[in-house]
């Protein structure tokens, strides 16, 4: 038998630490009751935004995808519709964060990024729901409810991330 040795870099440790925090936050959120089904604060996004500013996009990509897979395995929705919703939302968020991460600077702060992430998350999920899970236009009646929640939670998460970044 040969022993394979995987070299673990400090980058891996960083990703693991950040991902574990994101997973913990997601799990806390999972057990919190929500007044409207599907409306969630998305507090794990704080970690993703923090990572994207502090350590760059590729680290954030790893953290985000690890979070989606591990949380779905723990909660038991792996490969179910909820998992794909979560995955699509994350991929859309990351895509738009990648496109807009440059605006963070003198005039725009991480709050803008947070709002962009929250909105693209909702839009991505609605697209997959419309074309795969519930192929009927009726679901778009729900869209404004989710957009309003994205606005509120995007703002709150953005302010929290901004506070976190300033404290460090």
């Amino acid at each position: 038998m040969t022993r394979s040795i995987i070299k673990i870099s400090s980058q891996d440790h960083k990703v693991a630490k950040l991902a574990s925090i994101a997973i913990a936050l997601s799990l806390i959120e999972f057990f919190l009751p929500s007044p409207i089904p599907g409306v969630k604060p998305g507090i794990a996004n704080i970690i993703i935004l923090f990572t994207i500013i502090k350590f760059g996009f590729s680290t954030a990509l790893w953290v985000s995808l690890i979070r989606v897979f591990v949380v779905s395995i723990i909660v038991g929705t792996f490969l179910g519709p909820t998992f794909f919703l979560s995955l699509t939302g994350s991929i859309f968020s990351l895509l738009f964060l990648f496109l807009f991460k440059g605006i963070n600077g003198k005039y725009f702060s991480v709050i803008s990024l947070s709002l962009i992430a929250a909105f693209s998350h909702i839009i991505g999920q609605f697209l997959i729901v419309r074309f795969w899970i519930i192929p009927h236009d009726g679901i778009f009646y729900l869209l404004p409810v989710f957009l309003i929640s994205a606005l509120i939670f995007g703002l709150v998460n953005g302010i929290i991330t901004s506070t976190l970044l300033n404290n460090k």
Binding site: I111, I116, F119, P144, L147
Partner: protein, 132 residues
């Protein structure tokens, strides 16, 4: 209380000028989408049925009281320029009365004991149910 205000102020100070622009854009986007998506179509006619028999279609742009003779008595329907309700019914539970005014396309009031059903229809009829 003063401390709380101070904390909130501290949070608000973190918002930069560009963020206000972003917030504004997203509020406008949300409002615009809400105005498009929550614009339910209005109907044009009221269709009155007794059992399977269609009694008739009446324009909503009028103020009239229709009295329909059902199996257990008279049901009174009020059309009041765009909105409709059942005002008198011989049934015991009066669910049809409690439903109040209807004015949107495909809304329906049914009085089961008297076999009367009224629904708002337009030029084009939509599906009454979809199954997936």
């Amino acid at each position: 209380m003063k401390k709380l205000m101070k904390i909130i102020l501290q949070f608000i100070k973190k918002i930069k000028i560009g963020d206000l622009l972003t917030i504004f854009i997203f509020i406008v986007l949300t409002g615009y989408l809400a105005s498009i998506l929550w614009n339910f179509p209005q109907g044009e006619y009221l269709k009155i049925q007794m059992g399977k028999q269609v009694i008739g279609s009446f324009s909503l742009n009028q103020n009239v009281i229709k009295i329909i003779e059902g199996p257990i008595g008279k049901t009174e329907v009020i059309i009041d320029s765009g909105k409709v309700r059942i005002s008198k019914s011989p049934c015991t539970k009066k669910y049809c009365l409690h439903q109040g005014w209807i004015n949107k396309l495909n809304q329906t009031i049914v009085c089961v004991p008297n076999q009367i059903s009224i629904s708002i229809i337009g030029a084009r009829t939509d599906y009454d149910s979809l199954n997936y």
